[in-house]
């Protein structure tokens, strides 16, 4: 399995997904971490908006794992159908777990539902749409 760094186009500072826990053809679970130095955490804990970015990165990693190429594919978050928060902030320097499941795909667009938690405590769930380069 390739390293996460090879699966996402993000630089170190913007890459929050750390490891793949499990995946199959339509879903993925990853660990993630938001460092205390993140610009999303200017006053301690991080903006809950980051839940969506973490989920989008998990979807990107899934795309790399199931793709028949080693090349990193670019992707963009194009929409958030819904985000429901169970926490006003995300903890920093703490292992997070993100699970994402593909619920619709019409290339180059895909819709994922996701959940983010920390130590089994739900933080957020929602649905997002991503555009993935097909070439």
């Amino acid at each position: 399995m390739s390293a996460i760094v090879e699966m996402l186009p993000h630089g170190d500072e913007a890459r929050f997904v750390r490891t793949v826990v499990t995946h199959d053809a339509e879903s993925i679970t990853c660990t993630a971490l938001v460092p205390a130095t993140s610009p999303y955490a200017p006053r301690g804990n991080a903006s809950p908006m980051l839940a969506v970015e973490i989920a989008a990165q998990a979807a990107g990693v899934h795309g790399a794992l199931v793709a028949d190429t080693d090349r990193t594919r670019s992707g963009l978050l194009v929409g958030i159908r819904e985000l429901e928060l169970a926490s006003a902030e995300l903890p920093v320097d703490c292992e997070l777990r993100v699970s994402a499941r593909l619920i619709a795909a019409s290339p180059p667009l895909a819709i994922w539902e996701f959940e983010l938690s920390a130590a089994k405590r739900p933080l957020a769930h929602g649905e997002l749409s991503v555009w993935v380069a097909t070439a």
């Binding site: 993000h10 630089g11 610009p39 903006s47 809950p48 980051l50 963009l76 928060l85 006003a88 929602g126």
Partner: protein, 115 residues
């Protein structure tokens, strides 16, 4: 500096702010190394910060609905945020960059979050 708030004002229906995102903003670091664009969630985080730090007694952010990212925001852009109170506990967001819509959708608020 992550961003510079150039102006913030109340309107008849909500709030309006102009924000410059400098090329050196931490939000651009790593996103992406060869073609920096502002992460969509950074745009949302800025919008929320703008009101959360300036509007007293704002309820808790509870979620988002129907957010669409239309055009990328590049370094040194000035973004106009228009936040309109549509119904109680909801703010409609429009973020524009040089007349092009960057993002739009609804921010949801609540007095308590689900346990």
């Amino acid at each position: 500096m992550r961003y510079e708030c150039l102006s913030f004002a109340s309107t008849a229906t909500g709030w309006e702010a102009r924000v410059r995102v400098p090329a050196g903003s931490e939000f651009f670091r790593g996103h992406f190394p060869d073609a920096p664009i502002l992460p969509g969630v950074a745009l949302l985080a800025i919008a929320h910060e703008l009101i959360a730090t300036r509007v007293p007694q704002l309820p808790l952010l509870a979620g988002l609905r129907g957010i669409r990212f239309r055009n990328p925001v590049r370094p040194e852009s000035v973004v106009l945020f228009e936040l309109t109170r549509s119904v109680p506990h909801e703010l409609t967001l429009k973020a524009s960059c040089e007349a092009a819509r960057a993002a739009e959708g609804t921010l949801l608020f609540a007095d308590e979050l689900p346990a």
